[in-house]
Assembly symmetry: C2
Homo-oligomer: 361 residues x 2
């Protein structure tokens, strides 16, 4: 229990500990589908190291051969690689048709092709209706796209900020449902801080509070809170929504906002998608990068980017993350002096091409 008025916490043991400053770092809790059988043994979520260890142990101890992943977000895509690497029959059930909304349909479907090429069965339109114990000891997953037998089920349908402790107090939540904080990482109680996946942060492109539960954001927020608690004066300027993950040999990344998010925020925006090799085509090992660049109509200010492709895809998105942080426009991007050598890029890089194409379009 967090007793804000008396500046103390009360443990389950009854012990009370006073504080000058408290930091809420309660993280996320995984979402679970509200269907029958969701609590059967063999059904897991993955939030932390002990979840991962439990999954590995279960696979070993139960001679798991078949896995069903429910959901098709970052964790689902990352885990289908992990399961395939262990040689397991892997099925991904997704309730809608096209996953990974922030990537756009073309890139999302490309990733579906990537996992299918590696032997993952991807099943769209597969809303879960219930889980059932099979006679032989396995699980039966009933979905809107048929029934699937499995020895292990991973639920990966997202996570929500764990605000349970905050809600026992009058620490305020923001519109996203995560704990509201200012740029010093203080909640509405100046001596109660919140950092990491349980709290909101300011989105610098959307200009509003945003929940972006990622480890690097948590790391930065915690340093800011720590500096302020220690008597310093630090502030966290917020995020621009950068993310990345790897699916087998394919890199996936994004930063800033999509044209849909821009529209919802009344920012007139236009997107262009280009494909170009990550190295000169004649250089051995050249791979394609697909890049979508979103910029503000008129000004050309860069608002967002997302990319799927071979080695160096994440690197390109990070150049764009810097550009968005600095409010650069497409003209500045088209002329940007990036480090060039054939092992790393073509003389005219995919980010230059995207910027030029945006101007032309």
């Amino acid at each position: 229990l967090l007793d804000v008025d008396n500046s103390r916490v009360e443990l389950e043991t009854g012990e009370r500990i006073g504080f000058d400053a408290a930091v809420l770092a309660t993280g996320l809790k995984a979402r679970i589908p509200e269907v029958e059988g969701a609590d059967l043994p063999g059904i897991f979520t993955l939030r932390n190291l002990s979840d991962a260890i439990s999954i590995k142990q279960y696979i070993r101890q139960n001679a798991v051969r078949r896995v069903v992943i429910v959901g098709a977000g970052f964790i689902a895509f990352e885990m289908c690689e992990a399961f395939r690497t262990l040689g397991l029959h892997t099925t991904m059930l997704y309730r809608k048709q096209v996953p990974l909304k922030r990537l756009g349909e073309t890139f999302a479907l490309k990733l579906v092709d990537v996992i299918r090429a590696r032997g993952v069965r991807f099943v769209p339109g597969a809303d879960i209706s219930c889980f059932e114990q099979e006679a032989g000891g396995g699980l039966r997953v009933h979905s809107g796209a048929g029934e699937y037998g499995s020895d292990l089920v991973l639920i990966a349908i997202g996570a929500a900020p764990d605000t349970g402790l905050a809600e026992t107090t009058d620490v305020a939540l923001g519109q996203s449902g995560a704990i509201a904080v200012n740029e010093r990482m203080q909640t509405n109680h100046p001596f109660v801080y919140a950092v990491g996946d349980c709290c909101e942060t300011f989105h610098r492109v959307l200009r509003k509070p945003f929940h972006l539960p990622l480890g690097d954001v948590a790391n930065k927020q915690a340093r800011v809170a720590g500096a302020n608690i220690g008597g310093g004066s630090a502030s966290f300027p917020g995020v621009i929504g950068s993310f990345c993950f790897k699916v087998f040999d394919t890199e996936v990344a994004g930063t800033g906002i999509t044209e849909q998010e821009a529209g919802e925020a009344d920012l007139p925006a236009r997107a262009v998608t280009v494909r170009a090799p990550n190295r000169p085509q004649e250089y051995p090992g050249s791979e394609e990068i697909g890049l979508t660049l979103v910029a503000e109509k008129g000004s050309g200010r860069i608002l967002g980017a997302r990319a799927v492709g071979g080695r160096g895809t994440v690197a390109r998105v990070n150049i764009l993350a810097a550009a968005i942080t600095a409010n650069l426009d497409v003209e500045q991007l088209a002329q940007m002096d990036l480090a060039y050598a054939p092992p790393f890029s073509a003389a005219r890089d995919v980010v230059h091409i995207a910027a030029s194409e945006w101007k032309k379009a």
Copy 2:
């Protein structure tokens, strides 16, 4: 012959061709040491594809086993990898002690270690006094650090803008010795343009004309000249001095200016060097990146960076290239929202660490 006054060129055949606009794109010519024997057969320079083909043919046709590289710049380091990959005994002779001045001594000596570990003999203090034909058909290279027998010699001591054609006219050269141009890529004659390795460009950090003969710069300059000749209005904002190359499995890159260059330009600057893994240390295949960050005293404005290390080193420097282009400071860099996932970086990336350390130092 370029006849500017009469807007025509005269070919060696005597043919005359009139023009409305001319583009000088004469490139570079390799520097050759002014010593006896520098024109012996088996001594090569490397500027273009036909040079490369000649070198390969010579190696094959003459059963080359021993190679001496004179010089220790980008080309020398890249070529020692190529020669070692062909299984040749490779010796690099360098007249000074520490190569690659713009990388700083620590990183430069690390690269010497990298090539030595791959069997390249690196010999400092080896100023060339002459080349001699050996009795058996090989070459004898006489240097300030002893004599070296070789079947092939590659001269890689740099290159100068090829301004021969320009100098037959009154097209003006700049202080660097390359052709002077404005931001539209025009020379002092508005209808005579110059692009690529033969011309200067504006250095955006040093705020002065600069000669940076690199393929990506040439590519951008040529587009600007082409747009202007075609009746458009394009301008090239200049360079910040970004470069990269690969030496075996080590990536090398730099952007902006060094603390020495800052000092010469009366910019008060301070540098900090950090080392951090390119991925979380517990992630398989984690490699170190060494990064030197140069920023302006007081303001913290980022002026330059250079890095040597494993996979992703060039990618980090490109983030810094964007930051320098946008005049970001170390605080903005420390808080930058970059795409994070363990296959690509630690939660706190080497660029964040460098920015934080710069602030502390």
